[in-house]
Symmetry: C4
Amino acid sequence: LKEQAEALCNGARECARRWWLPATSGNFSFRSSAEEGGRIFITASGLDKGSLTPENLVEVDLDAQMVAGEGRPSAETRLHGVIYRDRPLARAVCHVHTIWNTLLSDRFAEAGCVTLEDYELLKALSGVDTLRRREMVPILENSQDYVGLGRTLEEALRLHPAIHGVLLRRHGLYTWGESIGVALRHVEALEFLFEVEGRRLRFAD
Amino acid sequence: LKEQAEALCNGARECARRWWLPATSGNFSFRSSAEEGGRIFITASGLDKGSLTPENLVEVDLDAQMVAGEGRPSAETRLHGVIYRDRPLARAVCHVHTIWNTLLSDRFAEAGCVTLEDYELLKALSGVDTLRRREMVPILENSQDYVGLGRTLEEALRLHPAIHGVLLRRHGLYTWGESIGVALRHVEALEFLFEVEGRRLRFAD
Amino acid sequence: LKEQAEALCNGARECARRWWLPATSGNFSFRSSAEEGGRIFITASGLDKGSLTPENLVEVDLDAQMVAGEGRPSAETRLHGVIYRDRPLARAVCHVHTIWNTLLSDRFAEAGCVTLEDYELLKALSGVDTLRRREMVPILENSQDYVGLGRTLEEALRLHPAIHGVLLRRHGLYTWGESIGVALRHVEALEFLFEVEGRRLRFAD
Amino acid sequence: LKEQAEALCNGARECARRWWLPATSGNFSFRSSAEEGGRIFITASGLDKGSLTPENLVEVDLDAQMVAGEGRPSAETRLHGVIYRDRPLARAVCHVHTIWNTLLSDRFAEAGCVTLEDYELLKALSGVDTLRRREMVPILENSQDYVGLGRTLEEALRLHPAIHGVLLRRHGLYTWGESIGVALRHVEALEFLFEVEGRRLRFAD
């Protein structure tokens, strides 16, 4: 667990350095194995992720109820729980706020999703072995009603079993993976492709 | 005080690394508690903030008169004083020059303000608990007459009790908070939203 | 060899820091001298290049057959072999995925190449001593058939003896040099010019 | 001298980190005081400035003739000499290649100069104490004939006694100052304003 906590914090500090977790926003978590209790270890609310350490993680169950640790879990912990329930193989969830995911989540809100296609880097997504893959990233309307938002997220996860991430409009990206390394790789790959798509749009103007 | 001075300098060095304090520009300050004298500790004029240390802070009173320290306070110390007088809860003030705040301060000068709305990251602003908040950032005409500029700033602060920052046209952002951490969080959140708004404009072209 | 391995890893870590090797993408290699066996030492597949060390290199022959090391060589090792065969003086090959090389590789795909001309920085390319040089970077259609892609690359290298790099569409840049330092210099120079060209296009709109 | 050499190298490494000296391009120098011989200490040709140390500086006279040190002076040393001759107070010269100076040097080539006006950051330029200042940065056609280019530079310096920098078209910026710190401050201020102007153009489209 200690090793996983270190890996998660390293990843979060690196994302903070890239300004993907501005102003204490965003949250990262991992889930312990079933033998270890299947608990969620998530960044406590309101911290600057640039100096995150394992002590800044709190332990919660899948219903987002606090088990151990100092600080309080973010209100968005519920969304992490929804992802872990619906994706039994997911062992880590990353949520980042970036310039380009914010822009695309708004630009394509009416279309309902960002579509990524024909990029070599799509092969960085778990289980994708062909760049011909049409990868869809659904966009959900943002809300402060986390119960309602949790339900919308659950529906999206069920409707789209092959997706690797979800955008909340004018808010940020949720992505996950079967390990901390894979979840971080998904952040990098999706954010790279969001920036490429965002800049490409303006060539086409 | 030592701890606060360290926190302010860490924040300034990080902002310098992001090129938000180019060419010795910008200045950061904190105010000691009433019991400690209610003095302003502000970065001395003309320093490269990338290597700022607590020794580079000078102590002044609310009228920007030097009390202690080496170096001289910036001419803009007066503006920090105006903010501390008008916002009794403010304990830190940050002033940064960035590419995007410079651009938006000019682009929206005639409108008189930048308006930020419906972004999740607005919740990083102190006291804002809903993203439906319409956050206004007034734009003041820049000037070298700091007495006159101080008066204009005072008026803006009184006219708009709920704002978290003010832009000086083609100059930079002033923001503040009830602690050093909050003021730095406001810098990050506002600059993030300025860049998003700036880039969004061109999608809409 | 140890020194070369260190130099290659330093360069890769620096490129990773610039986000030119996102999400474990890209691969770097060097070729030992004929006296040392003329073997290729290439980054193992699937690693985060931000923390690359010499132990993460695998040794292969020019046919991309594994000789020594832990991990497996990337499927793209074959393309490195093609370059080393066709460019006997090349001692290092760098392959990076960047925002701007991805954008230009798509924008100019129909033209078949990106053309760079009249830039001082062209003189950073090996053997180019005049900025009047018209430098062509051919664009090849991307594919997952690495045998076919190897053949296409071979043809491009033979058809254009003076080129310093090749773009794969919506995938990335291959460049090389007579030493590790020169190959890394070519990455920097070509990526700089790709970004300039990409941004210049929009001025011209 | 040792202290100045360290300051110059620190500045160059920082500029390299920002990708302002890509692919071994650019060169920095300082001039020793008259009592110390009035010699130029300049970065040797062909080095990666990201790891520059004082040993990488070579000593030349104002005619660019080698006096001491290892490596060879850049062909552009002549241009440094021209600046030091024509600006007797200049004690340091910085030459950087950046995305935005390359773009503006081309975009405004026919106008013959970039004009910067009404920016607070203009006050970072030595001797400028009003933001109403209209700062002109002349653009010279680039050339490989360094003798001819030196003459053109000399004419520009004489014609425009108040300028702080000169752009070579599709090549880069030369700027200087009465100390190393001031020259580096000029790099930062001018590059900041070039990026603002470049991005502003596209708002105005």
